[in-house]
């Protein structure tokens, strides 16, 4: 994106809409090791962007940086036109961690009631909250389990409760860390349909991570990551065409080989 970003405060008063996420020279340190190394990319609004790469490549760290829970972040990282972690973003982003973060000793509905009360507090908002909670439970297809304790649900069901929490308050940006891991194919398809509905009907932006490459085909755009760096930032079709591969997985492997070869020549040139 080449348009200049409006400053904070200008975002809601017209002007060009900034991309959902814009990173420049984004680096994250853990101890003295850099987990993310000088990333630069943009995530367009209203689309599903897949964040793909092997386990341990920095996907979760990048997501935590975007939602503002990661420490030691340097470089530029703007989310919905504001610096990542800005207090004004807290109601505009929905975030699902890899492990379900819900209270096991509350029912599904009680979990959602509580998080809804944090997002949209006050007695005046009670009716709006109730409708929001009911909708979120329906979105993840847990209406029949609404009064079950979260701790008594299966792993996949607990993950969906966690997802439902992130859907509360109709966030503009959803950051989902491996939301489909451990789910059966039918549920996975249903969730991806839900993600597409959320993007299409609510105009939300979704950033979905996965280490399963076959999910890549369901995204509008892809960020391929490896060892803390972005290998590619493109649409699935363009990636396949550019690398002359049949699948995104083959394209990824092709890019890894390229990167390794380039790394070798750089080292020998030194």
């Amino acid at each position: 994106m080449m348009n200049y970003l409006p400053g904070p405060g200008e975002t809601d008063t017209g002007g060009p809409t900034p991309p959902a996420i814009r990173a420049e020279a984004l680096t994250v340190l853990r101890g003295s090791r850099s987990v993310l190394r000088g990333l630069g990319f943009t995530v367009p609004r209203g689309q599903i962007t897949g964040l793909l790469g092997p386990s341990g490549c920095g996907k979760s760290t990048l997501m935590r940086a975007i939602v503002g829970t990661q420490a030691k972040v340097t470089g530029t990282l703007e989310v919905l036109g504001r610096p990542a972690g800005h207090p004004a973003l807290r109601t505009r982003i929905g975030y699902v961690t890899q492990a379900a973060s819900v209270y096991d000793d509350l029912t599904v509905r009680q979990n959602l009631d509580y998080f809804a009360a944090i997002l949209d507090p006050g007695r005046a908002a009670a009716d709006r909250r109730r409708a929001d909670v009911t909708r979120a439970i329906a979105d993840v297809d847990l209406a029949s389990h609404a009064d079950a304790l979260a701790g008594n649900l299966s792993g996949g069901q607990r993950n969906r409760v966690s997802l439902a929490v992130a859907l509360l308050g109709a966030p503009e940006l959803l950051v989902l860390d491996e939301p489909t891991v451990g789910l059966d194919p039918v549920l996975r398809r249903d969730l991806w349909n839900l993600f597409h509905r959320i993007a299409a009907d609510r105009g939300a932006t979704l950033l979905v991570s996965s280490h399963v490459m076959d999910e890549a085909e369901r995204c509008h755009r892809l960020l391929l990551m490896r060892e803390g760096e972005i290998l590619a930032d493109d649409s699935p079709e363009a990636l396949r065409t550019r690398t002359g591969s049949e699948t995104v997985e083959a394209a990824f492997l092709h890019l890894v080989d390229e990167a390794v070869a380039a790394g070798h020549t750089k080292e020998t040139a030194r």
Binding site: A117, I118, V165
Partner: protein, 256 residues
């Protein structure tokens, strides 16, 4: 890294605080055994103590009054440290801090929920001790209840603070003897503090539980609210607030 303190998060939001307190109590309601243990165990201990000292009711007066202050501290310490630890390890704390919840809202919510429970626990224990077990108190039982409540708050604060340093529930439980037992030994329950080795006496002077027990003893011996009682109550309350503040500092929005 401390992010710039935003105005909405710094101020206490009443509905978020009460929503948090209601949620904590709702979690407990799904666990009736814990509630029963919290409420009944102190009462049973008092009954036990009363008949252990069947022959010397004066000893029961002394120890019983002190214990009325110590029980809420210990229970609240344990419950809070484990509850907050679970909040940290389950990822719900990270989720909450990524939402528009102030740290103060969370802490006040916990203090409110467990404080309420502490009132029930202390009221039952105090009522039982004074009216059924014949604990001989010169002052007003309401003052006993006040100190018990402040102790409960101190226990909540210590539990919250300590949970930041525990990586597992095993460690959290082990912090109980580490943090509470030395105070228990030095608070004057077993020997008057001025009869201890001077070094230990000096240490006991800076431990909050000493003042909790002193306060209880003041109520035991004097009809009016003495200056010493006021001082003791203020010290316990001040310590609780101080440790709550330290506990708030351990809640980080950004973690590595």
């Amino acid at each position: 890294m401390s992010t710039t303190a935003p105005a909405p998060a710094a101020a206490l939001n009443l509905s978020r605080t009460t929503a948090t307190a209601a949620r904590v109590l709702r979690q407990l309601r799904h666990d009736p055994r814990t509630i029963a243990l919290m409420i009944l165990v102190p009462c049973l201990m008092l009954v036990l103590l009363r008949y252990v000292f069947d022959g010397s009711p004066h000893t029961f007066d002394n120890i019983g009054a002190s214990l009325l202050g110590i029980f809420p501290l210990i229970t609240m310490f344990l419950v809070t440290s484990i509850a907050t630890l679970r909040e940290r390890t389950s990822g719900t704390l990270e989720r909450l801090l990524a939402m528009p919840l102030g740290k103060g809202d969370l802490i006040a919510g916990y203090a409110l929920a467990f404080g309420g429970l502490a009132i029930v626990q202390s009221a039952l224990a105090t009522g039982l001790a004074v009216w059924l077990l014949g604990l001989d108190v010169t002052g007003s039982p309401w003052l006993l209840l006040l100190v018990a409540l402040l102790d409960a708050l101190l226990g909540t604060a210590l539990g919250l603070f300590v949970s930041a340093f525990a990586a597992s529930e095993f460690q959290a439980v082990q912090f109980m003897p580490a943090v509470i037992f030395p105070q228990l030994l030095l608070c004057g329950l077993f020997t008057p503090r001025d009869q201890m080795h001077p070094v230990l006496e000096a240490i006991s002077d800076v431990l909050p539980m000493s003042y909790a027990v002193d306060g209880m003893n003041e109520v035991l011996r004097h009809t009016d609210m003495t200056a010493t009682f006021v001082r003791d109550a203020l010290i316990v309350a001040g310590c609780a607030l101080l440790v709550l503040g330290l506990g708030a500092a351990t809640l980080r929005r950004r973690t590595t």
